[in-house]
Point group: D2
Chain length 312, copies 4
């Protein structure tokens, strides 16, 4: 178990970043409330070239899951019709597919129901009644998030450190975020969706699925304070675990998840492929863009695959 002081640090940050009640006792959206129409217009105003980037990894059996996370299965693609002349010989034929997948299996958003602590999810709702097997997330399900779209800002922590990729054990600190923001030459502001690049996804893209998952660079439990101070709407990165893994504090697992999802009510994205986008940003020096990243509206979902599209 972590030393008392560590837990105290966690609790201290939790208090500071807590957003319960900020948008009303009934709120289910959390920091997505920060994406105003003005923020959307500002996002649109960043577009110059019209170049589009998909930040999603392919959804396939050889996905990022390796069995490390129990029950979180890679997408399985199956057919229920194959060039089927349903209406008779010579007719126009159809093919139909069915998939089974973990909603957090690939490039995804963690919904606010994904994590609880002390039997609480965001906005002080009791976890045991707010998330059930028959309904999923009764509150703050991903279907409530709506059309997540706003200004994206890439914080390329690896590049800010002069690295192609952060080493596995690298703890992404608030200083790292500051440095990456400086590199980006834009101020992260209220309603922004922040993409933190570690370069770790290169391992998966290069075929090293195990190495990608673990050990992983990732966010420090101090970073939620930074996101809170900037009133960020959502944060995503290019790792399996989002936060550093093994954890920063021995025995304290998933503190960033708890701070972001439970305390702040801020969705987290994982397994986002930021490589091509980062290359482009480095070339033109422009790190802000229009970002469309709505979760699939699975009723009661505590997560969702997403195809983030950046437009520059």
């Amino acid at each position: 178990m972590p030393a008392l002081t560590d837990f105290e640090a966690f609790r201290d940050i939790a208090k500071k970043v807590n957003n319960w009640g900020r948008w009303g006792a009934d709120d289910e959206l959390g920091t997505l409330n920060l994406i105003t129409r003005q923020a959307v217009r500002d996002a649109v105003a960043t577009v110059r070239t019209g170049r589009r980037f998909s930040l999603a990894l392919p959804l396939q059996q050889q996905g990022v899951q390796t069995g490390m996370i129990p029950g979180r299965v890679n997408p399985l693609h199956t057919m229920v019709a194959l060039n089927w002349e349903m209406f008779g010989p010579g007719a126009i034929a159809t093919s139909d597919d069915v998939v089974t997948l973990g909603l957090q299996a690939a490039t995804h958003w963690d919904g606010l129901g994904h994590v609880s602590h002390g039997n609480r999810i965001y906005n002080n709702r009791p976890a045991n009644t707010a998330v059930t097997a028959h309904e999923g997330a009764l509150h703050s399900g991903v279907e409530k998030a709506g059309p997540v779209l706003g200004r994206g800002v890439l914080l390329d922590v690896a590049r800010a450190r002069g690295l192609r990729r952060l080493p596995p054990g690298h703890l992404v600190t608030t200083q790292d975020l500051d440095a990456a923001q400086e590199l980006a030459r834009t101020e992260v502001r209220a309603g922004d969706i922040v993409l933190v690049r570690t370069g770790q996804v290169q391992l998966y893209l290069g075929g090293d699925r195990d190495g990608y998952g673990y050990p992983s660079p990732g966010l420090s439990l101090r970073t939620p304070e930074w996101f809170h101070a900037h009133d960020v709407a959502a944060v995503a990165n290019d790792t399996l675990t989002f936060e550093i893994f093994p954890p920063e504090i021995d025995g304290l697992y998933l503190p960033v998840h708890a701070l972001d999802l439970v305390e702040m009510g801020m969705m987290q994205g994982q397994n986002w492929n930021l490589e091509e986008l980062a290359e482009d940003c480095a070339q033109d020096g422009r790190y802000a863009f229009l970002l469309s990243a709505p979760p699939e509206p699975f009723t009661g979902g505590v997560g969702s695959p997403v195809v983030p599209v950046a437009v520059k």
Copy 2:
């Protein structure tokens, strides 16, 4: 079986709208090639208010599928972890979900591999080798489509006819498209994504799942000529069957599918909820908008759920 003349009509249109080879013998994208960077910039330029609209129906067991289409199952949401203190008592807890769904079950894109005729899919590829059970669509799988985003134009056929909703048997003709275009006060142009509104989805939203599916208003087999003439990138509507059902020509099933997907190489969207967007367009008289609608990149997918987001 339809009379010879009907088949001849179909074959005649097929020849006119055929795009095989237009973007090279290796092309897998079809009309998505028409979305240029300029088209994206034009799309962005339509944004005024920053208001966002999700055009997706919820993904849930009580979805639009009723068993009418064999094997196409509504999304089933299940849990593999529920407020699970994986790391010990008192630890931060996680919930994880897994879904099974037909890729064409809800608001979706038909990929170019979804339909074949005469053993051919788009760009003259033999259907029996281009789409298999173990690989899905080896060519033109939905994962190839990339970040589908461009200018969307709503053709509100129902409103152009002064109706809240087209009657079940209504055949949407090219004249209907012309009238709706006139209402929209914008010219549909190369690379646009056209949304054709019938109002039929009101039935589903009102709880009449069977009535929603069948009988349905829908597109005439003459409409592909219209889309081809305007060099449209993709077309979606608010019905289960896309084209009129029962079919326009007795015994000739899915001719619009064949023309759009196979001959033109143009993706079709179905079960899109256009109600809220249409209301807004009617109010401000602006029917063009930024539309982001990337398919989920299921490797080999012949279809994909999509969360279309319109921004005005």
Copy 3:
């Protein structure tokens, strides 16, 4: 809510039939303990002709589920390989299938973890820790049941009443069981697996899926006393709900489930097709047989499909 006296009746029966601790505090098998080797030998000794009967309904999309029970989906059969010459052109080809199904969707056993009341499953284990989303049934999972095989006895309640099929609202009482036992001309004894026939499955077999499910004849909450008195190992019948539905006591749902599964630790079978077997028993007057009915050993399963085989 039911009147106090009704709850008292339930609690009174619960006390009488309770088997907690009977086979030790660690027991996970319940009444399956009653199938001794002698019982198996007795079962084998009933075989005369060598005629075999399958009591399973087909596993298919058009199964007995109609959506009445949330999340309990009919089997969906999909292909992941189809005549696939995996090792090259001309090679021997393979086809592979994948299914998704509710474990209680078709002919099945309810495992002892399927039901809890007062937060208890069989043998006084707290339900909230004994059955979880990440492990399923940690105790008394269906994989623990092992090779369920013993003497089966058909209690043909419909025939004993001179009916081809019991009417929908028929409550199967202990008097019904007595009469059917008399018809069977054998004494139900310790370790027997009892099959109670209502004839209700005829509705499903005849295409009336809705009528099959509801309203349904079924067992009275008095019958567990009868099963307990005879030390039956397991009970199955030919209905969707097992017990009468709508319930016997207004507002008291699933009391037989609670008595059988929780109090007695006795597995229940549902949706068993007893028609062909019953016909044969009526013809030769022999209602006891060898019955093999092992659940599929899904680790942590709270239910399992089963292919019961009777041999006479």
Copy 4:
């Protein structure tokens, strides 16, 4: 590619063991026809002690599949209800589970539709119409097999060779089968279900999932002649691949599958756990027993999980 002579050997055996038309042009059962009522009575007559053995491996995520066989996924167990008081607070609560699994993923039968060669499945049916994505196996689906139950005979090849487990590269020959039959002190006869033990499953049971699958001991392409000469009804063993893997003849993959399933119309069982049963047979010297092993009746299934139960 194998030398011509090898293909000739295969074709020569194929002719010898071919059963097409033997039970009529419409037959879908193949060698299961050999299990007569007399054979069932003989099977029953082998029972002495009443001891039962389950030969099934647990159905779980950590199953025998490792990704070596594309699309064949281990069972995934999920919950759709968890101690759910569906009928109100304090009501009796239910838990329900849903699984997704490859039908050939664990202890299973290969159905006759599982393999084709030269576009033919058993009884000369064209594979491309007999097995489709929308119907699965239209002919000889596993649901047709019915209540597979008869006399089982264990041929313990490992023990006959004085080994606890055959080495990975061991080819099980007809001489091996003869020696094991001698050890068993019973003559394999028409309608028997033969279980061939290699001991390979010990690797899986010991945690070596990769080693279990490959390389594997297994049956020689000469063994179908032996099974045919004895008019065996079905054969199962304790390996992932059934036949030796890598294959006996370089470049000729799955010849035993083709001979057994296509030519003979004989179901094959794989991943059967024969360890406990073999121990018992060695102790009492009795290698014949009653065996119940009905496939789950998935309509159109080309395979099925099975819980084989042996009774001695």
